[in-house]
């Protein structure tokens, strides 16, 4: 599992794809990352979420060895990135935030170039390129110049190049930035599928909802990880109430007052069309209580539905809590 404060300071074994302890990075006078502790287990799809400029890309670049940390210790696939040799790099895939291929080469030629960098022989390369381009729906566009394909195709081409050598650990930096919702969903499904095939995927994103589909999430703010865990654990930690929507005939003031009196209910308001909205600490527990209370008052409940707080609200709460805590620590 992903943990914010893993047990012990000793480097982990091979079951952990990425391990960071007390990692910091400074660019001149600017401290971009501070005191990062992380563990990403093998085989997980893991998300790093945070606003623009919070240090996500810096952290991803440290994970693949593009940047060296100025403080702390990092182990990627059980090896310090500073000591990476060809063997370690062979097991690592990286999708940078920006397109970093040759625009004047075709989709297929770019893939061939990258496959060559990973030492793939011509026959193996040919088979694997066909396989990956088909998997990412790029086969029909293989003869088009990279500069002529759409933004979504470019992202998929970059992803294809990162997958050609079948990496054990794939780091993808903002894979859906600038894409429309349909393409975002397509990329998200692909990453989930890649993870299901045994590759550990570590992605950074500023689209909060995407983090919800990950096995584990770390929330970043101002160069620090303020919370980490499964989406459910984060939601629980944020402690945000659920919202229950009720539809019943002839709701009156007395009915609303009865709902107010139920345990865990924080707020009740009426809506047009005989509807009411109840904000409760735990929606799953509140639904039967609301149904029973209205039935006791002779009201027929025609529809009732409980909704969790959005992950965006969870994120905002966690970030705000961190800010308050940091401020109090400073005081």
């Amino acid at each position: 599992m992903t943990t914010l404060a893993p047990d012990g300071d000793a480097p982990p074994g091979p079951e952990v794809a990425l391990w960071m302890r007390g990692v910091g990075r400074r660019f001149g006078d600017l401290q971009v990352l501070s005191d990062i502790d992380l563990e990403v287990p093998e085989g997980h799809l893991w998300g790093l979420v945070g606003p623009s400029g919070c240090g996500k890309t810096t952290l991803a670049r440290i994970a693949v060895g593009l940047l060296a940390p100025t403080e702390g210790e990092v182990r990627t696939l059980d090896v310090s990135p500073g000591a990476f040799g060809p063997r370690e790099r062979q097991r690592l895939g990286y999708l940078p935030q920006e397109f970093s291929l040759y625009p004047m080469l075709t989709v297929q030629q770019n893939a061939r170039f990258v496959a060559g960098l990973y030492g793939m022989g011509w026959l193996h390369r040919r088979r694997r390129i066909r396989e990956v381009l088909r998997y990412l729906d790029l086969w029909d566009a293989r003869r088009r110049l990279a500069q002529d394909v759409s933004g979504g195709m470019k992202r998929r081409l970059s992803l294809a190049c990162a997958l050609l050598h079948e990496p054990r650990f794939l780091v993808v930096d903002e894979p859906t930035a600038g894409l429309d919702p349909v393409l975002r969903m397509r990329i998200r499904d692909l990453l989930r599928d890649i993870q299901s095939r045994g590759t550990t995927v570590f992605l950074t994103t500023q689209i909060i909802e995407e983090a919800e589909y990950c096995d584990g999430v770390a929330v970043m703010r101002a160069g620090r990880v303020v919370a980490a865990g499964s989406p459910a654990a984060l939601r629980s930690r944020a402690g945000l109430p659920d919202t229950v929507s009720v539809v019943a005939d002839g709701l009156d003031r007395g009915d609303l007052a009865a709902l107010w009196d139920l345990p865990g209910v924080q707020h009740v308001r009426t809506l047009p069309g005989g509807r009411a909205q109840v904000v409760a600490e735990q929606g799953e527990r509140a639904v039967p209580a609301i149904t029973d209370a209205l039935r006791d008052r002779g009201r027929a409940v025609t529809a009732i539905d409980s909704q969790e707080a959005s992950f965006e609200d969870v994120f905002l709460r966690l970030v705000e809590d961190a800010r308050v805590q940091q401020a109090s620590e400073v005081e």
């Binding site: 693949v64 593009l66 397109f99 040759y102 060559g116 960098l117």
Partner: protein
């Protein structure tokens, strides 16, 4: 090993894929240098043109240069006479003419006072090379005028003394008659009178010749010896005249007692022998020999007769190939940075040496194709010979490419941007043009500036290509050693810098 090979070759594939898709790039890289060399070979006519020249001849003065104009016109483009120096000077300043010769006016006034005749020539050239060429060319022309003047004077002197031989023969005949008439007073008187009469023209001819020779001896170098001999000749003739005159006086005063003795007759014959012996060498020599005793017999041991195109083509090839390789090298890695391909390389299992080797392979191939095309153009279209080994020509170009690509890669790796890399590459081109020996010969450069020449691979390649292609010999094999060592050092340096580039920041 297998991974290294495929990794290295991937750069070649990437380059090939990009280049074939860009016909304009191919044109710029291959055809444009080809056209440059072709235009150079076909259109450049070096050497000095015949300067457009006018002669200032003030009204009423002697046209002293006129006898030389026909011959000078072979070397000067004679545009006519003008009447004043300011007028000619304005034409010179406007660029309508290249030179003005100011006629010296009255030659005799200089010659008679023993002064050399000033031949004033005005030029208005600002190009130092053409200026130097004009000075040298005009100095040659003045030397030619001097030489022709000496020949003319000597010729005149010889013409004046041309009949000395015939006149001494006449005198000798009268001496024989005098000898026969010994004892007959009247006949002897008559023969002495005839001898006196015969010596008169001889004396005048010798006078004329010696006067001419002496007159010009002070202004015409080389004529002083002839003048001295002419003086000795005149003294000999004067002495003979005095002897014969004394004989005539003796015959008139003493009658038969004054008849010439055997010693008198022999004395006259000896004097005539002296005259002939002195006159012979002076007046029988060819005036051209006296005026210009040395004749240039130039023998060129080079196996070919090089044209300007043939001489400059190896240099043009070396400069174009060097510039192409440095520019490509300088832009390649800058472009990788710009496209963020280096980001991918830093994550991929590829070593710095493999990246450098891959780029050497890719761009070395392109440069080799361009170099081969340029040499083929030079040899088969512009008729530039390859008198020596083709293998050495190919090897020199190969080393030049390796060295220049190394410089380009190093420039690229130490430059902050593609613009900076391009500027440094251009500086290398400019430096090569000035210092490689292409424009100015290396031995004409002053220390320590001449050391700059050895910063450019083109310097070594140009010298070797010229030697092998034109002379047919490799005169400085150490140049190839220098290129080879520099190529290896630069490759190693590029690898070290690339390793730094690919290291985590």
């Amino acid at each position: 090993m297998r991974r290294s090979i495929f990794g290295t070759l991937s750069f070649f594939e990437q380059w090939a894929g990009e280049v074939v898709r860009q016909p304009t790039l191919m044109f710029t890289l291959v055809v444009a240098p080809f056209l440059l060399l072709f235009a150079f070979g076909a259109g450049v006519e070096l050497g000095g043109p015949r300067p457009r020249t006018v002669v200032v001849q003030e009204p009423g003065t002697e046209r002293v240069l006129e006898p030389y104009l026909a011959e000078l016109e072979q070397h000067l483009d004679f545009r006519g006479f003008v009447e004043s120096t300011p007028l000619a000077r304005r034409a010179l300043e406007r660029g309508e003419i290249d030179a003005v010769i100011v006629s010296p006016g009255d030659l005799d006034s200089f010659v008679d006072t023993g002064q050399r005749i000033p031949l004033r020539v005005l030029i208005g050239e600002v190009d130092p090379v053409r200026r130097s060429y004009a000075r040298s060319y005009l100095r040659d022309q003045v030397a030619a005028i001097n030489q022709r003047t000496i020949a003319r004077v000597v010729g005149d002197a010889q013409a004046g003394a041309g009949d000395v031989g015939a006149l001494t023969a006449d005198a000798r005949r009268y001496v024989d008659l005098l000898d026969d008439a010994r004892g007959e007073l009247e006949t002897a008187r008559s023969q002495v009178g005839d001898l006196q009469a015969a010596l008169g023209p001889l004396s005048r001819a010798v006078d004329e010749a010696s006067t001419t020779a002496e007159r010009f001896a002070s202004v015409v170098p080389g004529l002083s010896e002839a003048a001295e001999q002419a003086t000795r000749l005149r003294e000999a003739v004067d002495a003979l005249e005095q002897t014969v005159d004394r004989m005539a006086v003796r015959l008139d005063g003493f009658g038969e007692g004054g008849l010439p003795t055997d010693e008198d007759i022999e004395g006259i014959r000896t004097a005539l022998d002296d005259i002939e012996s002195v006159a012979g060498p002076v007046f029988s020599l060819d005036p051209a020999v006296i005026s210009a005793p040395f004749e240039l017999q130039l023998e060129d041991v080079t196996p070919i007769d090089p044209t300007y195109t043939a001489f400059y083509s190896p240099g043009v090839v070396a400069l174009l190939v060097q510039h192409l390789a440095i520019t490509l090298g300088a832009l390649t890695l800058s472009r990788m940075r710009l496209l963020r391909v280096t980001e991918m390389l830093r994550v991929a299992p590829i070593r710095a040496g493999e990246v450098v080797a891959g780029n050497y392979l890719a761009y070395g191939t392109l440069c080799a194709v361009v170099a081969a095309a340029l040499v083929a153009l030079a040899v088969f279209v512009l008729d530039v010979p390859v008198s020596g080994s083709w293998a050495v020509v190919a090897g020199t170009l190969g080393l030049l490419i390796a060295c220049s690509l190394g410089i380009g890669f190093v420039i690229s790796l130490v430059s902050a941007s593609a613009q900076q890399a391009t500027q440094v590459a251009m500086l290398f081109l400019l430096g090569s043009i000035f210092f490689s020996g292409f424009v100015f010969p290396l031995d004409r450069m002053q220390a320590p500036v001449d050391s700059a020449a050895y910063l450019f691979p083109a310097t070594f390649a140009l010298r070797t290509l010229q030697d092998v292609m034109l002379r047919g010999v490799l005169r400085a094999p150490e140049d190839l050693v220098v290129l080879g060592v520099a190529a290896l050092v630069l490759m190693a340096l590029a690898t070290v810098l690339m390793r730094r580039e690919l290291r985590a920041a």
